[in-house]
């Protein structure tokens, strides 16, 4: 088992899992950490109750999922007696890239026509 091949397979799978975990909250009822910038507080919830950001939470969850995937793949793959075939390396790389591109496409499609709700203009606001 070549170290380079095992490391690559683990990283490619981690990349694929990152992409999936990053987009899953948009398809399932799963709570993510939301950050409320005006209140400087965090909340683990399905939907925010005010102006909030889920980017930090989704990125963190995706990083954790990818790290777990990497570790498990290294531990399990390290026991493999035979080396990875070049075709296997190509397939996992293709999956990692394809899933990433699919998630990118999803965001492009949904954000193209998004109409966000603006926050109310506060009394102290002076446009620059």
């Amino acid at each position: 088992m070549r170290k380079a091949d095992l490391v690559f397979v683990a990283l490619a799978l981690a990349t694929a899992v990152f992409a999936i975990a990053f987009v899953v909250p948009f398809f399932t009822e799963v709570s993510v950490p939301w950050y409320y910038p005006l209140e400087r507080r965090w909340a683990l919830e399905l939907k925010p109750s005010g102006l909030a950001m889920d980017f930090y939470g989704r990125t963190l969850i995706s990083m954790l999922a990818a790290t777990v995937t990497f570790v498990i793949t290294v531990l399990v793959g390290g026991r493999k007696k035979t080396p990875f075939q070049p075709r296997t390396l190509g397939v996992v790389a293709a999956w990692a890239i394809t899933l990433t591109l699919l998630v990118i496409s999803y965001f492009g499609w949904t954000l193209y026509s998004r109409r966000p709700v603006p926050a109310p203009i506060p009394t102290w606001y002076e446009p620059r």
């Binding site: 380079a4 490391v7 690559f8 990349t15 910038p37 070049p86 390396l89 990118i104 954000l111 109409r115």
Partner: protein, 157 residues
């Protein structure tokens, strides 16, 4: 009274530093792509490739973190109060930029690690996969830099 948003008082400095790091990032990632392409054409500048992979990894993370710190200020003062009302395209473009930046993170890590263990002369399939990973990272970097310029030209923090 404006709300007390984290790092708001240094938001402009953060964005300037974010831009400076991105300048180094776009240069190093583009050079790295050329090196990775060379691996497929039997031009194995492995040491240079490792240097660029490391430079991309460091500058990508620095750029990303600086953006994370400036984000709360942008989210309210720029997006909520202005873009969402007057320049919706900029609001949507920024979200596209941030999502791409996050999605490329594991690719950046993968490229850095693989650059240390791969021998492109012998690992042909690995070199091919490496090239496509680098190409995707470089594409994301270029998109994000151009988007960032367009967004900041419209309204900055």
């Amino acid at each position: 009274m404006p709300p007390d948003i984290a790092f708001a008082e240094v938001a402009r400095l953060l964005v300037v530093l974010h831009a400076l790091a991105a300048i180094v990032l776009i240069g190093s990632s583009t050079h790295h792509l050329v090196i990775a392409w060379g691996y497929l054409r039997d031009r194995h500048k492995v040491r240079l490739g490792r240097i660029y992979a490391a430079t991309v990894a460091v500058t990508y993370i620095v750029t990303f973190v600086l953006g994370l710190l400036a984000y709360p200020t942008y989210r309210y003062h720029v997006r909520a109060l202005f873009f969402d009302r007057y320049e919706v395209w900029a609001s949507n473009l920024f979200d596209m930029k941030e999502n791409l930046a996050a999605l490329a993170l594991p690719l950046v890590v993968a490229v850095f690690v693989v650059s240390r263990v791969m021998n492109p002369k012998e690992d042909r399939m690995l070199a091919l996969a490496y090239f496509w990973f680098v190409a995707l990272v470089t594409s994301v970097v270029w998109f994000d830099v151009i988007s960032g310029i367009l967004i900041t030209m419209t309204k900055g923090v």
